[in-house]
Every structure is written in C-alpha cells, then in structure tokens.
Amino acid sequence: MIQLYNVFKTYDGNIPALVDISLLIKEQSFVFVTGASGAGKSTLLKLLFGWERFDSGQILVKGMNVGKIKKEKLYLLRRHIGVVFQDYKLLPNKTVFENVAFAMEAIGASSRSMRYKTSDALKSVGLFKKRDSNPMQLSGGEQQRVAIARALVNNPAILLADEPTGNLDPDISLEILKLFEMANQQGMTVVFATHNHELVRHANYPFIILDKGNVVRP
C-alpha cells in the first residue's frame, strides 16, 4: 500500500529532513509516526501525498510511483488520500456543512451525492446538528472533527493525520483518536503523526520513530 525505498529529502540550504528512509505500511493498517518536533514527521506525510518532492529514492502509494507523477496529474494520487492537519485548515467564510462539502465539490461530485455524503460524514463525527454553524464558533475539538469529516467524505483509501491532536486537551485527543480508529475499522489505512507519547502508548498500534530525519525504530 505505502512503500518507501531509500528516500532522501533535504530542504533549501542542504538541511536534511529525511535520511535514507525505507518503510512498508500495509493496507488497512493503523500506524503512528512519532518523534520530537523537527524529526521529519510532517515532511514524511507531505511526501506521501506529493506535497513536497524528494531528492532520491522511491515512494509507492496505492501502486503509484509518487516521484514519477507529473504536477498536473498529482490530483489522481490525492483523490485516494484524506489529510488532517493540526491547524484544521477550515474555511472561515463557509459553514460547517459547506466546509465538508467543499472536498466533494473540488473533485466535481454531483450536488445530490454531495448532500447525502456530507450529511453522513457529519453524522459520523457527531456534528450534524452544527452543520449550519460557522466553524469559528466551534471549539478546537469540534473544528478538528469537521476537518476529519472533510477528509473522510470522499472515502479515501488512506488517511494521513499530521499532529491532529496537537492543539487539543488529552480527553478530546482520545475522542479524535477514536474517529481515526473508526475510519481504520472501515478499511482505511491510517498514518497518524504525533509527538504525543501518551496517545501512542494508549492506542497500542505499530509505530515508527523518527529522529532528525532517520528512522530509529520501524
């Protein structure tokens, strides 16, 4: 499902972000990527959905060779992947419903399926009643649920989460984790990047530890 072979990535100024990374993440698995700030967790996730380009090595995601996909065709890869961020990335000028529907609209879904699937996604994160609210009126935990609903609405094969609980209280973090576990139980592969060791210990899933761009423990 996700395979990395000897992947190197440096940022401008030759700062190494990832050094000789080789990994295999199986289909429908749940994997934590953990490590201190600056260890390369976010970079690793960004490489997986083609947001950043890598220097050498190979990355295969759902059978697609990420390094070989042309810029204009990256959308084909991204349609298999849902991404959730620490800062939610919600659009303040849209309602909760519109924010979630936006993900379907952007890939040209019909209005009818948009209505049904958006409602279903909001129900699955427990926010259907707040569908007409402005996301800025919601708490941090609720905003992250909206972001998760947006990532889930297109039913992607892979769910990438970059520090999704970074801004949340421990209790809320566990609730958010449960939503990812539910997605995993429905068949999605989940890659969950976090520096929260408590969460990793609590959930008891396989984990990858990164340190200064190197895999310490696969």
């Binding site: 959905f49 947001w51 810029k71 204009e72 990256l74 959308y75 349609r79 990335k89 952007a106």
Partner: protein, 300 residues
Amino acid sequence: MFYSKHLNKALDNLKSNPQTSLISVSTFAAAFCILGLFMVLYVNLDSLLSTWSRQVQIIVYLKDDLKNPQRKTLEALFAKNPQISSVEYVSRQAAWENFKNTFSAETEFLQSLDFNPLPASYNLRFKPGPNRVENIRLFAETLGKKSEVESLEYGEKWISRFEKFMIFLRVFLLAVGGLLSLGLIFIISNTIKLSALARKNEIELMLMIGATHRYIKTPFLLEGALQGAAGAVLALLAAKGVHGYMSFQFSDSIAKIARDADFLFIGPSGILILFGVSVAVGWLGSYISINKVLNMENGS
C-alpha cells in the same frame, strides 16, 4: 454545468472584492474607449478615402498636332479596358470655353490671350471594384508611354499619400492597441493575483483534496474575462457617447471636411473585435497570474 458553477464563483469573487474589480473594469473601459475612438477615426478616414478614390478619373491630355487615326488608336485602347465606365472627349475649343466660363471674372487676363493654350483631352472614369486605384495607376502608366499623350493627371500623388497615411494609421492603431493590451494584461494579472492570494487557503486546500488545475483556474479566468467584457461594454458606450456628441456639436464642420459623407461609428465587426480583444486580454492576464500563484504553492 461546469462553467455555470464557475461563473457563479467568478461573480462571487467580483462581489467580494468590489473596489479592486471596479478599478480594473474602469481601467479596461478607459483604455478601450481610447482605442475605440481611434477606431472611429480610422473608420471615418477610410470611408473618406474610398469616397475620394471613387471620384478619381484620368485626364489624358493629347498632343496638339494629333490626327484622327492616332486618336482612334487611343480610343481602341480605352475600349479594351473593361474597367473603364465612360470616356469623354474634350476638344481644345471645348476646353477653352469651359476655362473661360470658369474664370469669367478674369476677363482682362483672358482677353490678353490671343491663342488657345489648352490641349484636347479625354476624361476616363472607372467602374467601382477592388484595387480600383491600383488599376487606374497601372493604366495611367501604360498611357503615359504612348506618343500621342502629352501628359496625364489622375491625382496619384495625394491618393498614394493618403493610402500611405492610412497604412501608418493602421500600424499606429495596432501599436496603440498592443501597448494598451500589454498594460491591461499587467493590471488585470495583478488584480487577479490579489483575488487569488485572498483565496490562497482555499486554493491550497483544493490542491490537497485533489482538485484539478483546470478546476482551480477556471473561476479566476472567468473573473478576468468578465472584467474585460464589462470594461469593453463601458468603453463602447463611452465611445458611442463621444461619437454622438461630436456628430451633434460639429456636424457642419464634419460635413464640410467629409464632403457630406456620414460621420460613422465602428461597425459590428469592429465592435466584436474590440469586445473580443478586451475579453481575451482579461483572460490572458488572469491566466498569467493564476499560473504564478499555483506555481508558488508547494503541492501544485
């Protein structure tokens, strides 16, 4: 469906940045109004040129000692030319009578002349058609070589000068149009860039979700084209207003200069060209800027 959705988005964008949109539409209107007025000038000078060139005729002045058979040779040459519509022979005596009638006020001068200085001539008129002036010029060159002909007159100098001026005006119009378009492309690309940067988060999100470049670009391209279209409509209205004012205010002077020819406005094809160029400029400006913004994004 695809375009109507994006058209709504483009209209929303225009509404959400009313000041910037207004500035760029006004700039479009001002620039294309200037271009439109130049086109009005061109259309009228062109019509004047065709009116004048329709009046062009060749006057063939004959040598004094010409005999009848030599005249018949020339007349046979005229008859061979299918573009000649009429041939009028003016004898020396008739020319002198005409001259005396025209200058009857100068009786003292006319009385002092005890001989007829005027040559006999032929007035040749030509049928209308394409390359009329060029055909007249070629025929005049042939006639000029004939031994029977003393000299020719067909106003070739001012016609060719005027034609050169029209070519210059055409080049000038293209240059002005080109420069104005370049300036407008720069302005519209900045306006759209502002609009795209204001929606940077939305664009970033669309890229992450898996929207195609076409899906992201289309509303911005339509926004630019709409600004161009609105600017062109305003420009044409303003140019029509100026044209109407000039027709009303200076009708007498225009009639004198143009020898009663109508003071024309740009024709339907000119209007379509102006509108099309304006829309294309808006589209192109947006295309440049949205591509720049997309290239700035990491994941694009």
